[in-house]
Amino acid sequence: MESQTLKSAEPVIKFALLEDILNLARANSLWPMTFGLACCAIEMMAAGASRFDLDRFGAGVFRPSPRQSDLMIVAGTISKKMAPAIQMLWDQMPNPKWCIAMGNCAISGGPFEYDGQYAIVPGAHLIVPVDVFVPGCPPRPEGLIQGFLALEDKITKGEDRNILRRFHRKGGKS
């Protein structure tokens, strides 16, 4: 093992290679939970269907149960009636877990956010900690796939240590 500079809140002994392998395994077999709320759910289904295959990234098995999944894709507008359910589903998911906010509604309320809006929660980040935001209304399936690849980069801790990924984001750091 190589010795590394210690940063705060990190384990004292770091098994760098094992963590790398584990993160690689986690990133390449993300199991999303089917959590389509509105229109973005259809593009999520299209991303999992025949043309824009999500299975080639290891993320093709959509699990209906939160206990068996490690990725929650919030796809669609969050209404105030639905918000407690989202909190409960997030709490039910076992660690390690990640969240992608798909679509403008999940990022900031989208086209429904205006001064007199009474019915929605303007953004998923107000309820659950979001890792990747995928903008669009709805985002194209290719956009969702780019979000997946960005999340995989984030899981494997950025592309300077990730020699197997060919996907680059300008600027480098996740």
Partner: protein
């Protein structure tokens, strides 16, 4: 052995909560089921998990600012809703539409109807357990989305129709792609029929399941393919023809028993009839303007109201607009077909098995954000 078996003394009703998060092909629906063993005693759908306040937004938005909202009410027939809203405002404000624009809008609406039925077909059979038709149906659907994407810029939620016409004209490539798509889809019918319609498991899971009688349909305001499966040939495109639908020759498919198999057959036949409408529209497409240049940018209809009904993929939809003479609507009410289609389930699900409940829920083709608006 038989003498060791004891009858249970007390019958217990078990309440099962179905949703709001479940393999979501329908949106966020929650059904409270009271079960006696495997049989459903009472079914109580709880809606409202997708309420976004469209009707309040209709009063707070100019008419042209409300156009993006329409596609998001029912995102599977987004073009049809967009088309219907523009027709409603044009009727209220008295805006003329050139002929070419009318035909273009009808072609795009019918393509949208086919794509909605294809998605329903794929997800319904997936609900019943078969994964392959889902992939084939989505492949066909992607062809439609390519066509509509080229001309409107969006795959799912369109703002293509505007007051007085459409945003962009269609070119020869659109006409070419549409004609070849219709030919390709027709060549796929034998595949779908061999895979699904003649499939013994599918027939057993849908025949005599979820029977909706005509009287029940009338009581609950059921419209669309669910009503036509009961035997009543009611289609808004025939009873109140709008745009240029009265110039086309198409049949209204009708079932006989009102079970899930009839609803399936009606929708598959409707896809074929939509292909016929598209072919005739492509033949009759005239040259001309694609938008009425005199239509005002900020529409201010005169005082009054209009109730405009059209046929979406789910049934009879209507926009009820009340105008007070300003640029903002005073009341914008949307009558959605899924409202009645879902409500009838409180009657139909009584006495069925839980597995049949999934089949019935899938066969009525509801989109929950439409109910919640």
């Amino acid at each position: 052995m038989a003498e060791q078996f004891q009858e249970p003394v007390v019958e217990q009703i078990y309440t099962l909560n179905l949703g709001p998060q479940h393999p979501s092909t329908h949106g966020v629906l929650r059904v409270l089921l009271d079960l006696d063993g495997e049989f459903i005693v009472k079914a109580d759908p709880v809606v409202g998990y997708g309420h976004r306040g469209h009707e309040k937004m209709g009063e707070n938005r100019l008419y042209k600012q409300f156009i993006p909202n329409n596609s998001r009410v029912d995102y599977l027939s987004g073009m049809i809703y967009n088309h219907g809203f523009c027709l409603a405002v044009e009727k209220l404000a008295g805006i003329q539409v050139p002929e070419r624009a009318k035909y273009i809008r009808v072609i795009c609406s019918e393509l949208n109807r086919i794509s909605s039925h294809l998605l329903w077909f794929g997800t319904y059979v997936m609900d019943l357990g078969g994964f392959t038709p889902f992939l084939y149906a989505f492949d066909d659907r992607e062809q439609i989305l390519d066509i509509l994407d080229r001309v409107s810029g969006s795959r799912l939620t369109y703002s293509y129709c505007r007051f007085g016409g459409v945003t962009k004209d269609v070119d020869w490539q659109f006409l070419d792609m549409t004609a070849s798509f219709v030919k390709r889809l027709r060549s796929r019918w034998p595949d779908y029929h061999n895979l699904v319609t003649k499939n013994v498991i599918f027939i057993h899971r849908t025949r005599d399941v979820g029977v909706v009688t005509p009287e029940l349909a009338r009581q609950y305001g059921v419209t669309g393919p669910n009503l036509r499966a009961c035997g009543i040939p009611f289609d808004t495109r025939k009873s109140e023809p709008y745009e240029v639908y009265d110039r086309f020759d198409f049949k209204v498919p009708v079932g006989s028993k009102g079970d899930a198999l009839d609803r399936y057959n009606v929708r598959v036949e409707e896809m074929e009839q939509s292909c016929r409408i598209i072919e005739q529209a492509l033949d009759q497409l005239p040259k001309g303007d694609f938008i009425n240049g005199d239509a005002p940018f900020k529409v201010k209809p005169p005082k009054g109201e209009v109730y405009f009904a059209f046929e979406s993929a789910r049934g009879q939809t209507a926009y009820y607009l009340v105008s007070d003479g300003s640029g903002y609507a005073y009341r914008c009410h949307i009558r959605v077909p899924s409202f009645g289609n879902l409500h009838v389930l409180t009657e139909v699900l009584k006495g069925t098995l839980v597995a049949d409940a999934i089949s019935i829920l899938g066969s009525i083709d509801v989109v929950i954000p439409e109910i919640d608006r």
